[in-house]
């Protein structure tokens, strides 16, 4: 018996949390296989040895990636009994159902959320890093201050923002009131809720972005900057023509990672809006959760079908980013 009961979210979170680990074991596995295959005529003992070394990573890979994936495909084509056991084959009907307005809305919210997190997140982190790069006082302090959000867990950050956004006694509305301005329905209007969630997420991700980009700035060779200064490029010019292009690899990495993270964002939505009001913050991941676990339901069939769509979206996004953006990235 396998140790885990695979469910769509364990599959999703495997990808989220273990993204680096399984991917690297997979590539090492691939690399190691090449020499052993080319030396097929070599001693049998060596092949055995190679397989012996490969075994742990293959077992982990099969157990925690391939098996859950296969199980998700199986579940996605089955209806469930009331306890959540697959009880009848339904073919592709869970996928057919997705061609309705309801699922289109979920995809739209997911896309808007991803854009609303990735773009401002990258620009914000870049702005902070460029400002910090200039010789200002207490640079270290500011750098730490901007990286600090990275140390917050999703849950605590969300609770803090819940206090800010509270419709009746929230900090933000209190400030607006003091300034004599109107009140904003941060989480209780269909127009604002997604924006508020994006803001929260951008703040949560900012520290990570600053950390990555600051490391990138630090690795720009001194000579390049000196040469630029000698040529008279300073301030915004240097930022635009020297720093940003040289930050390409880090920016690219940041965009890929934050896109994947945004597609899988859950905690802040769960704590702040629970997908509401009226589904205006129900992203794909949240909908998977609702189908599989929330409100006493255990519709693992629909949830699995949606999880596969999510997997496909992450794959496509990543492939597009690697295909399009990476070409423009300059690796020194």
């Amino acid at each position: 018996m396998l140790p885990t009961v695979p469910t769509p979210t364990t599959q999703a979170s495997d990808r989220a949390d273990g993204d680096a680990a399984p991917a690297s074991t997979a590539t090492t596995a691939a690399r190691r296989q090449i020499p052993s295959a080319s030396r097929a005529t070599g001693p049998r003992r060596e092949t055995m040895l190679a397989w012996g070394f490969l075994a742990p990573s293959i077992v982990v890979f099969l157990l925690f990636l391939l098996y859950p994936l296969g199980r998700t495909v199986y579940l996605s084509m089955h209806g469930n009994d009331i306890i959540g056991r697959p009880s009848r084959f339904v073919g592709l009907s869970h996928f057919e159902e997705m061609f309705t307005g309801e699922f289109g809305k979920i995809l739209l919210v997911t896309a808007l959320f991803t854009l609303g997190v990735v773009v401002p997140g990258a620009i914000g982190a870049l702005a902070v890093v460029l400002l910090l790069e200039s010789q200002i006082r207490a640079q270290r302090f500011f750098r730490s201050a901007f990286v600090l959000p990275f140390a917050f867990s999703v849950a605590s950050a969300s609770v803090i923002f819940a206090v800010f956004y509270n419709p009746a006694s929230g900090v933000l509305n209190g400030l607006l009131y003091q300034l004599g301005l109107g009140q904003v329905a941060w989480l209780t209007s269909t127009e604002m809720a997604l924006i508020s969630i994006c803001l929260t997420t951008v703040w949560m991700n900012l520290g990570y972005g600053v950390l990555i980009l600051a490391a990138g700035v630090g690795s720009i060779p001194k000579e390049v900057n000196e040469a630029a200064l000698l040529d008279g490029a300073a301030g915004p010019r240097r930022a635009w023509y020297i720093t940003i292009p040289l930050l390409g690899p880090q920016l690219f990495f940041l965009i890929v990672i934050s896109t994947i993270n945004a597609l899988q964002g859950f905690g802040q939505i769960h704590i702040l809006t629970q997908g509401g009001p009226v589904g205006s913050t129900t992203t794909l991941v949240y909908s998977i959760y609702e189908n599989a676990f929330a409100y006493g339901t255990s519709d693992f069939g629909r949830a699995s079908a949606q999880a596969l769509v999510l997997l496909l979206m992450v794959l496509i996004c990543t492939a597009v980013q690697f295909g399009v953006i990476e070409r423009k990235v300059h690796y020194s």
């Binding site: 009961v5 209806g79 469930n80 009994d81 009331i82 306890i83 959540g84 056991r85 009880s87 819940a162 509270n166 419709p167 009746a168 006694s169 009131y177 004599g180 329905a185 989480l187 209780t188 209007s189 269909t190 809006t273 629970q274 509401g276 009001p277 009226v278 589904g279 676990f293 929330a294 409100y295 006493g296 339901t297 255990s298």
Partner: protein, 468 residues
């Protein structure tokens, strides 16, 4: 020791099989389902005599912080009294939804707890999943006297004339008022509004604007909470779902698009549009904050929130009955909260008996006095209110008596029994979403509630198909 264990296991397997068979053969015509064990299947107290060591009873619950401490106190007390017979281990499993999700997984793995706390919305599911020994079987076996137990609670958890689970942590919603604000507005805080028209009338006086025209205090503010839909319907004497609230046969559709509820939603819309009520959305936490911070002078909340309100407000808190839709409604009150289920499937006779002994202990007047005083939940045993802890609490905070009075004033009938349906949790959520859509989108109350009803219909049909 070894042989003893083996024979115990055999007995357990036999009991499990018997339960399974009786579950399969039981009549499925009504709202009932599996788990039709009778008194003869229930072990007597003698199975706990002469044990080598106390039988372990695993108890899954959803009580944390203050409520969890009170519960743990009761568990320790029981364990001390039953040394060598029964040892209960309580584990907090997360909120009600999570506990039920864990229970589902446990059923799949054949590893359920002995005793489990399940919220009211899960009652039909618990019956249909056929894992438990109906409460009635224990009562019949021991000729247990239910005369002292609260009728309204028994009514809620009784299906087809049999009590299915043991009410334990139950509450009803109340209307809470800011007494200081009432006095400032020249209103009598001892006479809180009784129906929607009166709330509006009071709210007009309670809404306070600053010199700059900005609202400093709203008259009213409560969460868009599906439980309230159920309350309003019970108080207006309309059923929530068809087939006699799902108690005469399986519920096939929900009825929250009833004109009475449309009226409530429209009233709510106008309260917000006219700036008499603050829109706090679906979060009950936000609604509580609106009340305790003085932003909303009246709110609707569970009796379980009274303790928190008294602690967190810097004004005097008053409590009244949950409002009627219109003054001539008959009233009545639905309970909420959870009940205790004893799992039979896969558990030994000793464990089943041990669980029942523990439940009996929890339902005594002594335990309920402590439980009610410590948590604010209703006393399951009506004599619990006369216990020393409950009396002390009532003397200090007379507001605690309001909930019991509201329940005592309530007629027990099919409407106040509440809807019995497998997808009740989905339905509550759908009603909230419809209600919220009416407040936040261009949909009219009627359109929004009808749409919400349609979204839950698919789930009802699928559930009913799945259980056959």
């Amino acid at each position: 020791m070894t042989t003893r264990r083996r024979s115990t296991a055999l007995v357990a397997a036999g009991a499990g099989l018997a339960l399974l068979l009786s579950g399969c053969s039981s009549d499925d015509g009504g709202g009932g389902g599996g788990g039709g064990a009778s008194a003869s299947d229930v072990p007597g107290a003698e199975v706990l005599d002469d044990l080598d060591s106390a039988v372990d009873v695993e108890f899954w619950h959803s009580m944390d912080s203050t409520n969890g401490q009170v519960l743990n106190g009761l568990i320790s007390e029981f364990n001390a009294e039953n040394e060598g017979r029964v040892k209960v281990t309580g584990t907090f499993q997360g909120d009600y939804d999570t506990t039920l999700a864990q229970h589902r997984a446990a059923i799949q793995q054949g590893d359920t707890a002995n005793l489990i706390m399940v919220y009211d919305l899960g009652t039909q599911f618990m019956i249909d999943s056929g894992q438990t020994v109906p409460a009635q079987a224990f009562i019949d076996k021991d000729d247990y006297d239910t005369g002292d137990l609260e009728d309204a609670l028994l009514n809620y958890f009784t299906v087809d004339g049999d009590l299915r689970s043991f009410p334990f942590n139950n509450s009803t919603p109340l209307m809470y008022v800011n007494r200081d604000a009432f006095e400032e507005a020249g209103l009598d805080p001892d006479v809180p509004p009784k129906d929607l028209a009166e709330i509006r009338e009071f709210a007009e006086k309670l809404t306070v604007r600053g010199s700059d025209g900005q609202i400093q205090q709203y008259g009213f503010g409560a969460a868009v909470y599906g439980w309230f839909v159920e309350q309003f319907m019970a108080r207006a004497a309309v059923p929530y779902c068809d087939n006699g609230n799902g108690r005469e046969g399986r519920a096939g559709e929900v009825l929250f698009d009833d004109p009475e509820i449309i009226e409530v939603v429209e009233w709510w819309q106008s309260m917000i549009e006219d700036e008499l009520a603050v829109q706090v959305g679906r979060s009950t936490d936000d609604a509580q904050a609106a009340f305790t911070s003085g932003r909303a002078a009246m709110t609707l909340e569970s009796t379980g929130s009274l303790g928190g309100f008294l602690e967190q407000s810097d004004f005097e808190v008053g409590a009244g009955y949950f409002p009627l839709i219109s003054a001539d409604d008959p009233g009545g009150s639905i309970i909420g909260g959870a009940s205790l289920w004893i799992n039979g499937e896969g558990h030994s006779q000793e464990q089943i008996r041990g669980s029942w002994e523990f439940v009996q202990f929890l339902m005594t007047a002594e335990s309920q006095s402590k439980w009610h005083a410590g948590t604010g939940y209703l006393s399951v045993n009506t004599n619990g209110y006369d216990g020393p802890e409950a009396k002390e609490r009532a003397a200090e905070f007379p507001q605690f008596a309001v909930a019991a009075a509201q329940l005592a004033d309530s007629e027990t009938n099919v409407n106040t029994a509440g809807c019995m349906m497998g997808v009740m949790a989905d339905s509550r959520m759908a009603s909230e979403e419809g209600w919220e859509a009416a407040l936040t989108t261009s949909d009219s109350a009627e359109t929004a509630m009808t749409k919400a009803k349609e979204t839950v219909q698919r789930k009802i049909d699928e559930y009913n198909d799945a259980v056959g």
